[in-house]
Amino acid sequence: MSRIVLEGVRRRFGETTALDGVDLEARDGELLVVVGPSGCGKSTLLRCIAGLEAVDEGRVTIGDRDVTNVRPAARNVSMVFQSYALFPHLTVRENIAFGLIVREEPKAEVRARVAEASELVGVEALLERRPYELSGGERQRVALARALVRRPYAYLLDEPLSNLDAGTRVQMRTELKRLQREVGATMIHVTHDQVEALTLGDRIAVLDRGRVRQVGTPEDVYTQPRDRFVAEFLGTPAINILTPEQARPFGEIPAGSVLGVRPEHLRLGDGVPARVELVEVAGSDAYVFLDGGLVARVEAERRPAEGEELSISFAREAAFLFDAETGERLDR
């Protein structure tokens, strides 16, 4: 069992509350992605699990063992840092073997496990190089190998893909998923990139100002957001938010509420008149910016021309109703 449970975890830095009573569970063998904007407490959450930050209140459990006051090394978790934290004066082999050497594992065991981990991530040809001789993707693989070699209870990944170029990031995302399946270990992956979260996670947890807003499968969280923040954070372009006045042409909504319509649910061609102000083509999709601040996502081949007068509509059941004050979902 290597599930990780956080119960009512709080962490403050002076006047700032980084984590405000976080309850979260990463199930055994699951890849849980924690996603949220910069400064929402994602990295602090990971550091509290690793033991690099003390917890002010609450409990951290790893594999049914309370580790709240246990030192980092005794928690048996591996962490991959955003900067990879590879030791620049050591070779790739020495970097991967680092944890085993510190723990004074037998030399033969170290050799075998370094070979196994490096093969798993495909860096066996780089073992005698130093980190500054590697590309970003290679460094990332070495950092993963260093995490894997110890065979910990769980892996904590702090935005490990954020320093990679777009192409390598997509490739490493797939590899990370494959690796997690192969190893079958619990992983908590922290990112601010919603696409990464939606494509990578078995489940995702959306964090905002130190609080967990919603936890669920990527599909659930995207199609059934619990509140306005989650709806606005996930999705590109961001969800359209209509005030009662803006929504009136499409149908009445209760006073004190707002309506959320995802750009892909906005249909062009029938309904309320609108004018196309700008069209952005993003590969197979096009983002159509309309007057009144609405955005629609359509197939690039069917995009209208800029300045075109058209009409728009959406299916009411595809829209979400939120409380204008609290952002809570009203139509669940």
Binding site: L52, P72, A73, M79, F81, S83, H89, F98, P131, R139
Partner: protein, 285 residues
């Protein structure tokens, strides 16, 4: 943004054109006195200083060196200085780096207080401590030994060296030490296996500064040493000056003997200053 980059590059080019003449001018300021010290030491003993600058003396002779060594046991004093430096410098580097690393590991408030104390200590003139230090060492019965000369190394020789190490360690990405903590590495092992290999140029710089300070230390040996057999080289030079006050070639020969090890040490160490540990400044990003 692009114009900023262009501006920086243009600045580099402008500076690049001036760099060599400026470097030569600065080097000359330091080299000219050294050259006249060397050329003066190669004049015949007893000769007065030349009326005009003399690049190469006529006749060229090393008899002033023989005379200096005859008058004073400079060899013994040099060996004494070497022993004191050999004990002081590694100890100072060790303690200053430990203290600097301890600053890094300390929590924010304690660290701020200690850094403040270090700065305050830097501002205390050494002469203000002469009497209390002498009283203390006399009370301990350690005067007329090398202990008072070596003892300051037990506090890193100078707070400046401690702060130098602290600033260098602080430049390293904290994730390196956090990764080591996760693996169960103890602070001493972190200092030895991670921190020190990554700040090698600073270690060499502090070592060299400590060597220069120890080698050229005149005041402490003057106060604490009474037995001529324990004298260090600066006291030997003073003896030379006392014995043959106006014999400039002999005095300059003594000065060359005292200066040569420092110049040699600098020449050996400069390749480490100029060669940053590859990847040490690399953040892995």
């Amino acid at each position: 943004m692009r114009s900023q980059v262009r501006g920086v590059r243009a600045g580099e080019r402008r500076w690049g054109g001036w760099r060599q003449p400026v470097a030569v001018a600065v080097a000359a300021v330091f080299l000219v006195p050294l050259w006249f010290m060397l050329s003066g030491s190669l004049r015949e003993p007893g000769q007065p200083p030349p009326r005009s600058p003399e690049l190469i003396p006529r006749p060229l002779t090393t008899t002033s060196y023989d005379r200096a060594f005859d008058l004073v046991d400079l060899g013994r004093h040099a060996v004494n200085s070497l022993i004191v430096a050999a004990l002081t410098v590694p100890l100072a580097v060790l303690v200053a780096s430990w203290a600097g690393f301890a600053f890094l590991l300390l929590a924010g408030r304690a660290r701020s207080v200690l850094i403040g104390v270090s700065f305050a200590a830097l501002m205390v003139p050494l002469t203000a401590l002469l009497v209390p230090r002498f009283t203390m060492f006399r009370w301990l019965g350690l005067t007329d030994t090398w202990v008072p000369l070596i003892a300051p190394a037990l506090i890193g020789l100078s707070p400046f060296y401690v702060l130098l190490f602290y600033w260098s360690f602080r430049r390293l990405p904290p994730e390196l030490f956090e990764a080591a903590r996760l693996e169960g590495m103890a602070p001493f092992a972190m200092w030895r296996r991670l921190a020190m290999p990554l700040v090698r140029p600073v270690t060499v710089a502090v070592g060299l500064l400590a060597f220069i300070a120890t080698w050229g230390n005149f005041l402490d040996p003057l106060i604490y040493l009474f037995d001529p057999d324990l004298y260090t080289l600066p006291l030997g030079l003073r003896s030379l000056e006392t014995l043959d006050r106006t014999n400039y070639p002999v005095l300059l020969a003594g000065a060359v003997v005292a200066t040569a090890p420092v110049v040699l040490a600098f020449l050996v160490a400069q390749r480490y200053f100029l060669h940053e540990e590859r990847g040490a400044g690399w953040l892995g990003r």
